[in-house]
C-alpha cells in the first residue's frame, strides 16, 4: 500500500535521526566516520547471520522483494559491483547496475542532475562509487532514498572496512585489543581511512607501516601509530592488512621502483616472522603479487584471509541493504 501521495516522506531528511533507540539511526551509509560502536556492532552482527545463510544451499530470501537497488559506479570496479549485485539479489531486490561507460556523466551532466534523474526512477537504495572525495555525500543530499558509499575518491569505503572487521572478528573472536597493521599506500587509500576509523572505534590498536611518501600529512592525529620499517612495524601484530599499490605511483615520484618497494615493504614470509605466529594476512584486492605481497604469503591457507574477505563482502553488503531499507519495509505494513 502506498501512502506517498498524502503521508510523510518515507525517510526523514536529516542524516541522523533523533535518539529513538534505533541501533542504526542513519539514513545513509556514507562512511564509518561518525558511526558509534553500537551501530558498527549491529551491522556486523546482522552480517554474521547472512554469512551463515550464504553457506547454505538456499541463499536467497524475499526479504526485500519489490524494492529497487541501483548500483551507480563512476569508477571501474568488478568485485565490489558484483558483490553488491549478488547481495541485493539474495535479498530479493530488483538490481540495476550502471557503470561509467554507459552513464551520461560523459555527456556533461552534473552529479546533481544525475541525482534528480535517478530520484525520478524511485529507487529504494542507491549504491555509488565515484572518483572524487565527498561526491557520494553530495549526491546523497539530493536523493530521497538510502545511499550506500561504495568508495569515494580517497575518502571512505565503508563496506570494505566492515567486511574486514567481520573477517577479523570471525577469525580472532574480537577486534578490541588486537594490534592491526595497515601497510602500503595509505595516502591514496579510502580503504585505509575507513579501516582506521572503524578499528579505532572498536578499540583496536592500529599501526600504519609505509614509506613516508605514501602517508598523508598529520595522519597520526587520526589515532594511529606510525612506522616506516616492516620489521618494527610488524612486531607483535595480530593482523596485517596490505593495501594495493597503484602502479601510477611511480610516475608521481612517490617511489623509485616496484622492485625496491617489494624489497622493503612487500609482505614476505621472512618479514612476517616479526608478527605473532597466528597473524592474519588480509588484502582488499585485487593484489599485485610480487609488489606489495609475495605469492606464498597470499596463498598461505593458515594465515591468509583474502578469500574469506570476499565472502564476507557479500554478507556485509546484504546487512547494509537490509538495515537501510528496514524503515521502508515497516511502512509497507510488515
Amino acid at each position: 500500500m502506498s501512502t506517498q501521495s498524502t503521508g510523510p516522506a518515507p525517510y526523514p531528511r536529516a542524516e541522523v535521526s533523533p535518539p529513538s533507540g534505533e541501533l542504526f539511526p542513519h539514513k545513509h551509509l556514507l562512511g564509518i566516520w561518525g558511526l558509534d560502536p553500537t551501530a558498527i556492532k549491529h551491522l556486523l552482527d546482522t552480517a554474521d547471520g547472512y554469512a551463515e545463510q550464504n553457506r547454505q544451499a538456499k541463499k536467497s530470501t524475499d526479504k526485500c522483494e519489490g524494492l529497487t537497488q541501483i548500483n551507480l559506479f563512476f569508477e571501474n570496479s568488478t568485485r565490489t559491483l558484483m558483490s553488491f549485485e549478488i547481495a541485493g539479489k539474495r535479498l530479493g531486490m530488483e538490481v540495476t547496475s550502471m557503470s561509467t561507460g554507459t552513464s551520461s556523466i560523459k555527456k556533461g551532466e552534473t552529479l546533481l542532475d544525475t541525482a534528480a534523474t535517478l530520484n525520478a526512477m524511485r529507487p529504494d537504495v542507491l549504491v555509488m562509487r565515484h572518483a572524487d572525495s565527498g561526491a557520494v555525500k553530495l549526491l546523497s543530499e539530493k536523493m530521497e532514498c538510502a545511499v550506500i558509499n561504495a568508495g569515494d575518491g580517497r575518502s571512505e569505503h565503508p563496506t570494505q572496512a566492515l567486511l574486514d572487521a567481520l573477517t577479523i572478528r570471525r577469525r580472532k573472536g574480537r577486534i578490541h585489543g588486537q594490534t592491526i597493521v595497515i601497510s602500503g599506500d595509505v595516502a591514496h587509500s579510502r580503504v585505509a581511512r575507513s579501516n582506521i576509523y572503524l578499528l579505532n572505534a572498536m578499540g583496536a590498536r592500529v599501526r600504519l607501516v609505509a614509506p613516508s611518501t605514501l602517508l598523508p600529512k598529520d595522519v597520526d592525529r587520526l589515532g594511529v601509530e606510525i612506522c616506516h620499517r616492516m620489521d618494527e612495524g610488524l612486531e607483535g601484530a595480530d593482523v596485517v592488512m596490505m593495501l594495493r599499490l597503484q602502479q601510477e605511483r611511480m610516475q608521481g615520484a612517490f617511489l623509485p621502483s616496484l622492485r625496491e618497494y617489494y624489497q622493503f615493504w612487500g609482505l614476505t614470509h621472512e618479514k612476517l616472522k616479526y608478527a605473532k605466529d597466528d597473524v592474519l594476512v588480509m588484502h582488499p584486492g585485487p593484489m599485485n603479487r610480487g609488489v606489495e605481497i609475495s605469492s606464498d604469503v597470499a596463498d598461505d591457507l593458515d594465515r591468509s584471509a583474502i578469500e574469506e574477505q570476499v565472502e564476507m563482502g557479500v554478507a556485509v553488503r546484504m546487512a547494509c541493504l537490509d538495515i537501510l531499507t528496514r524503515g521502508l519495509r515497516a511502512e509497507d505494513g510488515q
Binding site: 566516520w33 552534473t110 552529479l111 546533481l112 565515484h130 572524487d132 572525495s133 565527498g134 561526491a135 555525500k137 553530495l138 569515494d152 575518491g153 580517497r154 575518502s155 571512505e156 579510502r190 581511512r193 598523508p216 600529512k217 598529520d218 595522519v219 592525529r221 587520526l222
Partner: protein, 414 residues
Amino acid sequence: MSMTAYINARLIDPASGLDTKGTLITEGEVIKAFGADVKAPGGASVVDCKGRILCPGFIDMRAHRVDAEAALKGGVTTVILQPDQTTVIDTDAVVERIRRRSEDSETVNVFPMGTATRGMQGSQIAEIGQMMQSGAVGFTDCRTPVSDSQVMRRLLEYSGHFDALIVQFAEDRSLASGAMAHEGEIATRLGLSGVPAAAEVIQIERDCRLAELTDARIHFALISSREGVDAIRAAKKRGVRATCSVAPHYLHLNDNALEGYRTFAKVRPPLRSEEDRLALIAGLADGTIDTLVSDHDPKSADVKRLPFGQAAEGVVGFETMLPLALAPVHAGKLELMTLLRALTSTPADLLRLPMGRLKEGAQADLVIFDPDKPWRISQDDLVSSARNMPFDTLPVQGQVWQTVVAGKALYSAA
C-alpha cells in the same frame, strides 16, 4: 554647486591619524572642509551621521568582478579589477576601455590591473608601460604565479622604469599541483590532496631575493600561512620593498570550514590551520600585512555545487569584508586605525592613487559605517552577482550605512 554637510560624524583619516568628532562638507564632487570645528554652512543639505564613523571609501586591491552594487554596499569606492576577465587584460586597449567605462558612469571607481606576462603564460613580459599609461595600476598573473625565475627577475627589473607594482601569487606551482586544501589533518581525513605552507614560503622567499637583486617593489596577493607572514616580516626587516595582502576569510576561518566538503569554503590559497589564522591577524595588526582585500569572486552554483575536487575556488567578499575584518577589532587584537589604513591609504600609496585620504579638494569618496551594529549575514540579502560564501547566518558586528562616490551617496542602508 550643491553642498552636503555630514554632521555628528566620527571623522577618521588613517593617513594622518585624525580621529575626532566633527563635520565634513562636500561641494560637488570634492571635499570642501572637515574637522571638529567645521560648521554646516547655510543652504547645505545636512546628513546626520549620529556618531557613526566617516572615513575615506575603501580601496579593494583584489576583485575578480566589478559587481558595483555589492561593492558600494560593502563601503568599497574603488575596485581594483584583476586581469582574469573573459577578455584577459593584457593590452592598453582593454585597460583603456575599462577606465573609460568607469569614468563615464556614476558608480564605483574601477582601475584594472594588467597581466604581468602576456596572456598570463609566464614567459613574455606584458606591455607594462603602455598599460600603465592607459590607467593600469598594477600587474599580476592572478592565480598563476610567475614561476620562471629569469622571467620574474626581468619583470621586476623592467617594472622599475615605470614604478609599476608587480603582484605575485605566492604559490610554488609544482608543490601546489592538484591541491584542493591545506595539507593537514582535515585534508587527510577528508581524503583531499593538500598543499603545504612551504609552497607559499618558497615563492615569497625567491621573489624577495629577486626584488632585492633588482631593487624593485613586489606585492604578494594573498598570504595564508604563519610561515608566509614570518617570511614577509623578515624580508621587510632586511629592507626588501615587499608588501602583501590578506582577505577577511583567512582571518575568520580555518580549514575546519571544509568539514562536510563545503565547496563554499574552497579558496586559493586554501584556508589553513588555526595557528595560521591567528598569525595572519597578528601580521595585520603589526603592519607586516599591509592591505586587506576582498578577493571578491562570484561563482555560480553550477561551478560550486560539484564534488569538492571539481568545484571552482572563490568567495564573494565585498559585502562581508568590513564586518568580518572588524571581528578582530572587537576582540581587541587589531587597532581600528590599523584596519582602516589597510583599507584606504596603504593601498592608495601602493597603487599610486590619489584616493584613500580625507583631504580638502580631494574627490569625496567616503564611507560612513557603524562599527558596532549587530546583524546576521544572510545569503538571501546579498546583492552580489552570486552567493558563494561560507558565512551564511553568521552573527557579526559593524555595518556600512552610506557610501559616497564623488560627492554622491550611491548606497544608503534602508
